[in-house]
Amino acid sequence: MKTTLPHPRAGVLLALLALAAAVAFPLLAASQQDTAIGVDTLIFVAAAVAWNIFSGYSGYISLGHAVFFGSGAYAAGIAARDWHINGGAEFALLLLGAAVGAVIAVPFGLIALRVRRHTFVVVTIAIFFIFQLMAFNLSFTGGTTGLPAPFLLWSPVTFNDRFYYVALVIAAGTIALSWLIRRSRFGLQLRAIRDDEDRAAGLGVRTLRVKLTAFVISGAITGMVGALWFFFVGEVLPQTGFDPIFDLTVALMAFLGGLATVAGPVLGALILEPGQQLLTQQITSNYLSQILLGGVFLVVILLLPRGLIPTASEKIRSRRASRRDRDVSPAARGDLPPGSPAGGPPADRAAGRPA
C-alpha cells in the first residue's frame, strides 16, 4: 500500500514510537495485572498478524488457526513434562512450538488448499475439530484435564516482565516479517492469488507452492505463540488450546484493522484484546462478553467492512486530494476530463494496487 501519511518517513517514525512505548510499558505499568494484559495483547498481535500473512494476503479465510495455537501449546507442554524442562530454559521450547506448527501446516495445507472459498473455510473448521477431538481422546495429551506448565519460581513482582519482552520480540518480528512479505515478490504473488487465482496461475505463479509457503509461515508463528501462551497461562485444556473463539478473534482483529494491511491486524489486536480483558474484569459474566464480541463483530462487518486502516487512509487521501485541488490554478484544473474527481484519488489508487 502506498503510504498515506503526511510524510513518507512518518510510518517508520510511528512504528519506532510504538515500539519505544511498548518497551517502556512494563516500567510504567502500575500492577502485574496491567502487564498481564500487555502479554495477552502482544500474543494476539502476533497471532493476528500471522493469520493475516496467510488469510489476509491470499484471501483464503482460515477458521482453523487454533490448530496451530493448540498444537504449539501441547507440544511445549508434553516436551516440558517428558524432558523435565523448567525455569528460563522453557523459552527454548517456543522453537519447538514453531516447528510443530510448521510441520502440521504441510499436510493440513495440502488437503485444505485443494479447495477454495466456502469449502476451504469448512475444511479448516473440520480439521480444527479433528484436533480438538484428538486432544480430548489421545492418552499423551492428558485428556479432559489437560496439561499443567512447569511451576516458575520467579518473583511475583516481575513475573510477567520476561513473558512480556519475549512476546514483544515475537510480535515485532512477526510484524517485520509481514511488512517484508507484503513488499516482496512473494507477497505480490499471494495478492495476485487473492485477486484472481486462475489468472495468477496462467501468468506463471506456482499457486499451490505460494499458498502453502504462506500457510506454513503463518502456522509456525501461531504455534510459537501458542507455546508462549501455554507457559504464561500455566495450563492447557482441549477447549482452551483448541478454542473456536480463538479462530474468530484473530479473524475479527484483522478485519477490524484492515485485511491484508501490515498495521491493520496490529491495530485490531491493540483495540480488541485490552478491551476484552478490561470488559471481563468489569462484568464477570463470560457469556456477556461472548455476546458482546459477536455484537462488535457484526457491527464491524456491517459498518466498516474494509476495516479501520483502509477506511481512514481513504479519508486522508480524499482530503489531501481536495486540498491539492484548491492549490491548483483554475486553468490547470480545466485540463482534467469532466467528472473525474480532480487529480489525486484515481491516480493514487492505481499506484496503490499491484500492477
Binding site: 477454495r116 469448512v122 473440520a126 479433528i130 477431538l133 456477556l288 459477536g294 457484526l298 462487518i301
Partner: protein, 293 residues
C-alpha cells in the same frame, strides 16, 4: 453380534433422516444465497431449547410445540438474513457472510448459556422413554416418529421446490441469480424466505435431536455444525439429493463404528471428509463448478 450390527444400521438410518432435514436446510441456503450458515448448528440447539422451555414451563407437548417453534425459527432466520446477510455486498461477500454467521452463532450461544446455563438437559415425553421391540432390539418410539416426520418434511420441501411456482423461483435463483432477476423474480424476497425455511427446519431437527441425544447444552452446536458441514460437503454443496444420501451414509457408518470405539466414531466423519476431498474436491455429488473462485 448380528443384532448389534442390525441395531446400529437401523438407528444410523433413522438418525440420518433427521440430519438430512437439517442438512437440506443448510444446502438450500447455500444454493440460493451462496453462503454457508455456520450458525445452523447453534440454531438446531436453539430449536431444541425452545421445545425444552415450552415443555418444561408451559407443559406443551414436543410435537404440539413445533407449531410454535417452527414459525419462531422461521422469523429468526428471515431476521438474520435481512439484518446481517443482505447488506453484505462486494468482493469479500463470501468470507464476510461466513464471519457474520459465525458472529450470530456465538451471540446465540452466549444467550443460551445465559438463559439456560451449561448443564446438560434432555427433552423427555412418554414416547422418548418407552420403546418397541423389533428385530431383537428395543427402539424408542421417538426415533420412528422423528424419522417419519423428517421424511415427510423432506418430501414436502421437494414438493415445494419442484411443484410450486415459488419453488421454481428458488431453483431459478440457484441456477442464475442475474437471469432470475431479469425474468422478474424478486430475488431478495426469495433469498429471505429461503433462509427462513432453511432455518425453520432446525426447529424440527432440534426437537428430535434433543429427544434422541443423551443430553445437550449450548456447546452442542459446535458438534452439530461440524457434522452438518461434513455432510453437505460430502454430498456436494448445493445438492439436495447429495445431502440426503450423505446424511444417511455418514450416520450409519458412525453408528456402526460406535460398536467398537465410541470415542472415535465422531472422527469417522472428518476422516471421510478429508479422504473424499483429497480424491474428489467437489464432493460425491457436486458439480465441478463449486470450485470456481
Amino acid at each position: 453380534m448380528t443384532t448389534k450390527l442390525l441395531h446400529a444400521i437401523v438407528s444410523g438410518v433413522l438418525g440420518g433422516g433427521v440430519y438430512a432435514l437439517m442438512a437440506v436446510g443448510l444446502t438450500l441456503i447455500f444454493g440460493v444465497l451462496d453462503i454457508i450458515n455456520i450458525a445452523q448448528g447453534i440454531m438446531v440447539v436453539l430449536g431444541a431449547y425452545l421445545s425444552y422451555a415450552l415443555s418444561v414451563h408451559l407443559h406443551i407437548g414436543l410435537f404440539t410445540g413445533l407449531l410454535i417453534t417452527v414459525p419462531a425459527m422461521f422469523v429468526i432466520g428471515v431476521a438474520v438474513q435481512w439484518l446481517f446477510i443482505r447488506p453484505l455486498t462486494g468482493r469479500d461477500r463470501t468470507s464476510m457472510s461466513l464471519l457474520a454467521c459465525y458472529a450470530v452463532a456465538i451471540i446465540i450461544e452466549g444467550v443460551l448459556y445465559w438463559a439456560f446455563g451449561p448443564n446438560y438437559v434432555t427433552l423427555s415425553a412418554s414416547y422418548t422413554t418407552s420403546s418397541m421391540h423389533v428385530l431383537g432390539f428395543y427402539l424408542p418410539y421417538i426415533y420412528l416418529y422423528g424419522f417419519a416426520m423428517a421424511v415427510a418434511l423432506v418430501l414436502a420441501l421437494y414438493g415445494l421446490l419442484y411443484r410450486t411456482k415459488f419453488g421454481r423461483a428458488i431453483r431459478a435463483t440457484m441456477q442464475d441469480r442475474t437471469a432470475a432477476l431479469l425474468v422478474g423474480i424478486n430475488v431478495n424476497r426469495v433469498a429471505a424466505l429461503t433462509f427462513g425455511i432453511g432455518v425453520a427446519v432446525t426447529a424440527v431437527g432440534g426437537m428430535v435431536y434433543g429427544a434422541t441425544s443423551s443430553g445437550f447444552n449450548p456447546n452442542s452446536g459446535y458438534d452439530l455444525i461440524s457434522r452438518l458441514l461434513a455432510i453437505i460437503i460430502l454430498g456436494g454443496l448445493g445438492s439436495i439429493g447429495g445431502a440426503l444420501a450423505a446424511s444417511v451414509l455418514m450416520l450409519t457408518i458412525e453408528s456402526v463404528v460406535d460398536i467398537w470405539s465410541p470415542t472415535w466414531a465422531v472422527a469417522v466423519f472428518y476422516a471421510a471428509l478429508v479422504l473424499v476431498l483429497t480424491l474428489r474436491p467437489a464432493g460425491l455429488f457436486g458439480r465441478q463448478a463449486a470450485r470456481a473462485q
